[in-house]
Symmetry: C2
Subunit: 360 residues, 2 copies
C-alpha cells in the first residue's frame, strides 16, 4: 500500500511532495481510472483543510467580491458532472530523458494521466454571480498548498482565459468517480479544466481572481512553459502551455516483453486535448511503411481520452510496434522523439514505439 | 490577366470549374491577401445571381422557417467583420503527388490559402431568429453552384456543428477586403467558417438547414474525408475533415533557387486551424539537428495565419531549409510527407523543406 490510500502498483517518483503515476496495467483496466490508482502530481505537502471552515474567495476584476462556504456552493449552484481526462505536461518525459537527462525532473512514463468522472458546479455559474468586468480576460486560481521549490515559497496557481472559464465543462469539483474528493486530489474543492494540462486544475482551491493578464506566479510564468532546446527557464521564457497536445501511448504489451508468437492484442490510449477528439489510431509493424487502423473503444465524450486495441499476428522474432493517433483536425503526432527534447521535458507527444520479442 | 479579374500571377489548375492558387510571391506581399490574388476552389460554373431577387431560406429543425432578402439581412442584423484565413483541404497536395500520383486531383502548392477581412453578419444571429430546436445539432449550407462531377449533379454543400455555428466568428459575408464580394468568391452571400477547411465556407449561399446529422451530400459524406492510404472513397468512408490541421510553408526563397551566399531572409506562413494560434515557428539548416526561432510577424487574431521571417547566414553550397510550426497546444507538425499520403491527397501538413544553392 502506498500513502494516501493509493494502490501498491503506483509508481512513486517522490514521497514528499507526493508524486506517483498509474502503472500501464492499471491504466488499461478500463476507460475510467480507479481513484486509488489515479496519478498524483504535487508541488507541496498535501494540506489538511477543515471543509466546514473552508472559504472560497472570488475577487479581482469583478462587480461583486464573493466569500463562499462549501454549503453555499452546494446550495446555490446546480450540480454538474463531466468525464474528463487529466494529463500532466510532463507525461512521457522518460522518453525525453532517454535522449538526454533532465536533472531535477521526475521521469514520468505514460501514467501521468487518467480519466475520472468529476462532480461539482460550473465555474461559469460562480463567475456569473461575481460579474466579471470588461477588463477581465483571465481567471486565476490559487491553492492552499505551499510549494517550497520556489523562493520565496508560494501556493500553486495558474489561470485560464475567461472564454474557457465560462464554458460549462470547467468545474469546481468536490467529488471524483462518485466519492468525495480525497485530500491528495484537492479536497474539499479543486478546479477541473478539461482539455488543459493538469497544472491548470488547481487542487485545494482557495481563491479565484479575475485578471487582465495571465497568472504571474511561478507555475505559469516560469514553469510549465515549453522552452527551445537551448533555452533557459526564466520569467516569461518559452511558450506557455495550456491545451494538451495530441498524444498516445501503448499500455500492452510492455516494451521489452517476450510473448508467444501468433495473435497478440495491442492496447493503448490516445488523447486529443483542447476541444478536439481522437478520430483515428493506426498501428504499424514495419516501421511506418504501412499502417492498420486500431479499434477505438468506448467514447466517453469530448473531454476524455479514447482507449484503443488491435490484434496483430506476430511471427517469431523481434518486432517494433509503432503507433500514431490523429485528432479531429486530421493532425497526427510527430515522429522524432529526440527532436522534441526541451530543458524541462514537457509535451513528449512523439509516436510511441514498443519493442517486443515473439517466442516460437 | 486571368478570368474573374484575377491577376496574371495566379497559378490556374482548371479553367472550368475555375481553380487557381495564389503564387508564393503574392502570398508573401503582406498579411492580408489581395482579393485579385486570392485563391479560388470551385466545383461548378460560377453562378450568376441577381442579388435583388436572391433569397436565403432557413429551414429544418427550427421553430420558424425564414425567407430573407439581402436587404432584410442588412437591415435586421448587426454588421460584423472578421479577419480569417481560408485554406483548402488540398493545400500542398503537390507534395503528396510527388510521393505517388493522385489522378483527377489538382496539384495545389502552398497557395490554396489566403487571408482576408470578411464583412457581413453573424450566422448565430440568423439562427437565433429561426430558433433551432433541441434536436438540431448541425447546421448545413447549400450553394447555387451545380457540380457536374457528381452523378446526379448536386449543389455544393456542407455542415458544421451547431455549437460552432453559434459562435460569433462564423459569418454570412457579402464583402471581402472592404469591397462587395465578387461573383467568383460567392456573391451575393457566402459562409465564412474561420478555422475550418475552405469547403465549409459555402459560396453562393441559398439555403441553411438545421439538422440532427452532418450534411449527407457528396462533398461531406464522400469527398473531403481523410482515407487510410489503402482506402477507397465511398459514402462515410474515412475521417470527415473539418478543423484545419496545423500547417506551414516557405514563401521565399523558392525551392531550387540559386542566390548569393551570405545573409538570406527566409519567409513563410503558418496556420494553426480551429481555435488555436501559432505559438512558434522554427527553422533548421542542418536537417533538424538544431533549430532557430523565426520572428512571428503581424498578429491578425485568432482566425488568421501568422507570417514569419528569419535571416540565415548561408555559406556557398547546397542548403536545405527545414521548417516546423507549433500551435498553442505545443503540438508540432509531422516530419514525413510520404507517410501522410492518402488517396484524395488531403491535409499535407508535413514540415516544409526548400532546397537552395548559395553561389559564392
Amino acid at each position: 500500500m502506498n500513502p494516501y490510500g493509493k494502490r501498491a502498483d503506483l509508481i512513486v517518483h517522490e514521497r514528499e511532495p507526493f508524486n506517483a503515476e498509474t502503472g500501464r496495467a492499471a491504466l488499461g483496466e478500463g476507460p475510467l481510472t480507479a481513484t486509488d490508482a489515479f496519478y498524483v502530481r504535487g508541488h507541496g505537502r498535501v494540506p489538511e483543510i477543515d471543509s466546514a471552515a473552508w472559504r472560497l474567495r472570488v475577487h479581482g476584476l469583478v462587480e461583486r467580491e464573493l466569500d463562499l462556504s462549501l454549503t453555499t456552493l452546494r446550495d446555490t449552484f446546480p450540480e454538474r458532472d463531466e468525464i474528463a481526462t487529466l494529463q500532466c505536461a510532463g507525461n512521457r518525459r522518460a522518453g525525453l530523458m532517454a535522449v538526454c537527462d533532465i536533472p531535477g525532473e521526475a521521469p514520468w512514463g505514460p501514467g501521468a494521466t487518467g480519466t475520472a468522472r468529476w462532480t461539482g458546479i460550473a465555474l461559469a455559474d460562480v463567475l456569473a454571480a461575481a460579474g466579471p468586468l470588461d477588463e477581465g480576460t483571465h481567471v486565476g486560481f490559487a491553492g492552499a498548498d505551499v510549494c517550497l521549490e520556489v523562493e520565496p515559497a508560494e501556493s500553486f496557481g495558474g489561470s485560464i482565459p475567461l472564454d474557457k472559464a465560462c464554458r460549462p465543462e470547467v468545474l469546481l469539483a468536490w467529488a471524483m468517480n462518485g466519492k468525495p474528493l480525497a485530500p491528495v486530489h484537492g479536497a474539499p474543492v479543486r478546479v477541473v479544466v478539461p482539455g488543459y494540462i493538469g497544472a491548470r486544475s488547481i487542487k485545494w482551491l482557495e481563491r479565484i481572481e479575475v485578471r487582465s493578464t495571465p497568472w504571474p506566479g511561478h507555475f505559469q510564468h516560469v514553469a510549465y512553459r515549453l522552452l527551445p532546446e537551448d533555452g533557459t527557464p526564466g520569467p516569461g521564457a518559452g511558450m506557455p502551455l495550456g491545451l494538451v497536445a495530441l498524444n498516445a501511448d501503448v499500455l500492452a504489451p510492455a516494451d521489452g516483453e517476450t510473448l508467444a508468437a501468433g495473435l497478440v492484442e495491442v492496447r493503448g490510449y490516445a488523447f486529443a486535448g483542447g476541444e478536439r477528439h481522437v478520430s483515428r489510431v493506426d498501428v504499424s509493424l514495419d516501421g511506418g511503411a504501412s499502417w492498420s487502423p486500431a479499434e477505438l473503444l468506448e467514447d466517453l465524450g469530448t473531454w476524455a481520452w479514447r482507449q484503443w486495441r488491435i490484434t496483430v499476428d506476430l511471427a517469431p522474432g523481434e518486432h517494433e510496434i509503432l503507433v500514431r493517433a490523429w485528432d479531429s483536425s486530421a493532425a497526427t503526432q510527430p515522429e522524432d522523439e529526440a527532436a522534441l527534447w526541451n530543458p524541462k521535458g514537457y509535451v513528449n507527444n512523439a509516436r510511441p514505439r514498443v519493442r517486443i520479442r515473439a517466442a516460437p
